[in-house]
Symmetry: C2
Subunit: 458 residues, 2 copies
Amino acid sequence: MDNQQIPYKIYLEESEMPKAWYNVRADMINKPAPLLDARTRKPITLEALSQVFCEELAKQELDDTTAYIPIPQEILDFYKMYRPAPLVRAYCLEKKLETPAKIYYKFEGNNTSGSHKLNSAIAQAYYAKKQGLKGVTTETGAGQWGTALSMACAYLDLECQVYMVKVSYEQKPHRREVMRTYGATVTPSPSDTTAVGRQILQEFPGTTGSLGCAISEAVEAASTREGYRYVLGSVLNQVLLHQSIIGLETKAALDKYNIKPDIIIGCAGGGSNLGGLISPFVGQKLRGEADMRIIAVEPASCPSLTRGSYVYDYCDTGRVCPLQKMYTLGSGFIPSSSHAGGLRYHGMSSVVSQLYHDGLMEATSVEQTAVFSAAQLFAKVEGILPAPESSHAIRVAIDEAMKCKETGEEKTIVFGLTGTGYFDMVAYQRFNDGKMGDYIPTDEEIAASIAKTPVIDA
Amino acid sequence: MDNQQIPYKIYLEESEMPKAWYNVRADMINKPAPLLDARTRKPITLEALSQVFCEELAKQELDDTTAYIPIPQEILDFYKMYRPAPLVRAYCLEKKLETPAKIYYKFEGNNTSGSHKLNSAIAQAYYAKKQGLKGVTTETGAGQWGTALSMACAYLDLECQVYMVKVSYEQKPHRREVMRTYGATVTPSPSDTTAVGRQILQEFPGTTGSLGCAISEAVEAASTREGYRYVLGSVLNQVLLHQSIIGLETKAALDKYNIKPDIIIGCAGGGSNLGGLISPFVGQKLRGEADMRIIAVEPASCPSLTRGSYVYDYCDTGRVCPLQKMYTLGSGFIPSSSHAGGLRYHGMSSVVSQLYHDGLMEATSVEQTAVFSAAQLFAKVEGILPAPESSHAIRVAIDEAMKCKETGEEKTIVFGLTGTGYFDMVAYQRFNDGKMGDYIPTDEEIAASIAKTPVIDA
């Protein structure tokens, strides 16, 4: 199809929007290893999981056989407020790079949470409400998940308690006010409001926190409050399930114009956006219907896929959560204070880990300053100021497009632009002032952290 | 047409996007009074105007006979990056209010400038580039215009010097970094970098500035730099012309579903968004093709239409710009330090002023705390955290919808949601903390300010 026929932005009609989430586990030959109960070290039961999560979400967490799970009408209606998200043809970026590659990005930033996180937040809040709960607790890194959950809870009239990774809390005070405007309570983590928080503070005084710490605090808070459950914005199977809406819409938009992607790129912290984006395409690969390269991009400062070990580990620093088999830097790993708060997680979704382990996808890591250079270039030519997290994918998309320029190949590159950087201006300021550095953990640091990680044959 | 057939968001196809701007002056029976040269007090010539503005823009400023002006292809291509903007049916707000009214809003916030300002920024930057200029200077209030212009200049590789109203500069340091990321230079106004700035600082030490001051500084800076011209984000005829894209798209989207608006509402500072939104509808009224109420909403702290005088006045505090016949509070009026930086202008577009004077539209003013209450409600049910400026229109849209609830009338209300409040979290924090107040100037204050305004019979 001629380029000129493809619009700058492909919007699906409401009638074309997916009506069911896609559960890639159903098509996986090697299923992700089961979660293990932290106490018994045996595969966790629905009953045990339901003490932490809402019952329906616990079911989704354990379901690795149902391929399509219908999206409840209430959630479909909420999705219509900010979805479908556009699939954008990056004509201006292509022109700037003088590349024969065709670049597309799925833009998830056109909502107030500023990212894709709202896709799962509304689902989790909906099931909590349906179960008759009073409220939910959670952690947030960059603040996008916390904002998304605050929005979903405000919409459904649920209480919302957010533990926000301290470095983000300090760098992004305005994020806190967005959450407060939506009625949430926000606490910097680690905090002295939980036993696990106090313990982490004692062990690592002055720590700027991590997602792992904040998870521990939120789980403890949920377990000590009547009518509360814990919800999580990434890593879990249920989150990837909800986020499959990204990939399903992307695929529908590509199919509409008969576009076959050669490379699909996503940034990877816990794996929620990446897993959601790639699920339907991995499904095609698994069923032998299509083939393409899939690339996960992680920060060099927190390289779980590229430099971690594929073992059972705790999902949280405080070791109150179940164990998960995943690529991990060790649940005690606290990454440097980088500016991609949403990617500072020690592990990786077990689905993404298994797919990577089975060679169904690749992974690479990039350094912070190179990421911000890509972000600035993108902002200038495509008009969207991207989140630092999302800019990891931009960096590699540009690199791949430049390879095409060398070889003359007209590859079709699709990447996930997960969100906007409007609350990341402290990071941009550091970059604008030429004061941003790169931090890469040494092999010794990673080995020392991994050495403390439980290794279990299950 | 049945409600259920109307989607949550109406997006035009690229092929349905307007190809020409609409110049409402061509259809006005009483044309806006001509600009007067500040020195001669005679109608300003194209030649004199071209010393301040780019030539093509000066022509557009003076053209009150050409109804449709074709949009250059380069601008149409840029528009495709972030337009068409959706016309959203506020189903959730209607449900929350339990009103029989049908509420629509045209959402202009889905771009990094966060507002409609980009529509005119790219046009003005394009004509500057085409004229072979080196750069442009401007002022910015809330920072949205400055951001928009920085984006447009970065795209076209033009230099950009922004004078930012001091109160906004201090409340919104992150805006400054967005502009810097796009390569602009940003100076708080009033500053000591211009003669007029130094004079204002001497006369009003400690002033938090106003759009009028910043305009004076930017005009002076443009006139003292080689290869520079001044550009303005509101008030001018040329800006309303470019912003007609808002109204044209809105009308096309309404027509697509055969929806007839009963009330059209827009916030009004200098009149750019309001003028752009209403132009095609005013055209219908002028040509006798349709009728509807049109309501301008201004802040009670800066009520030019509702409490100002319809006289000739300077467009800027420093009195270096031409004089314009408009509703004004006096060019020396410096409004209180409210949180709607984009609405803190002493006057009003001469087009809007004339339409108001001729009874083609109404005007009302609302207080700040009532505006933020509406903003918070809207954010919770519609999922978009609105700019304080835009929230003035939300307030009145809700008020009108509540009147429908009393009377049972199923009116169709359309309002302009000009932008997002992501850089206004200091204001939201004040509101969240219950520390926001209202300020309304006294009759004596306004009378004293008007007394210093030149009154000319022309």
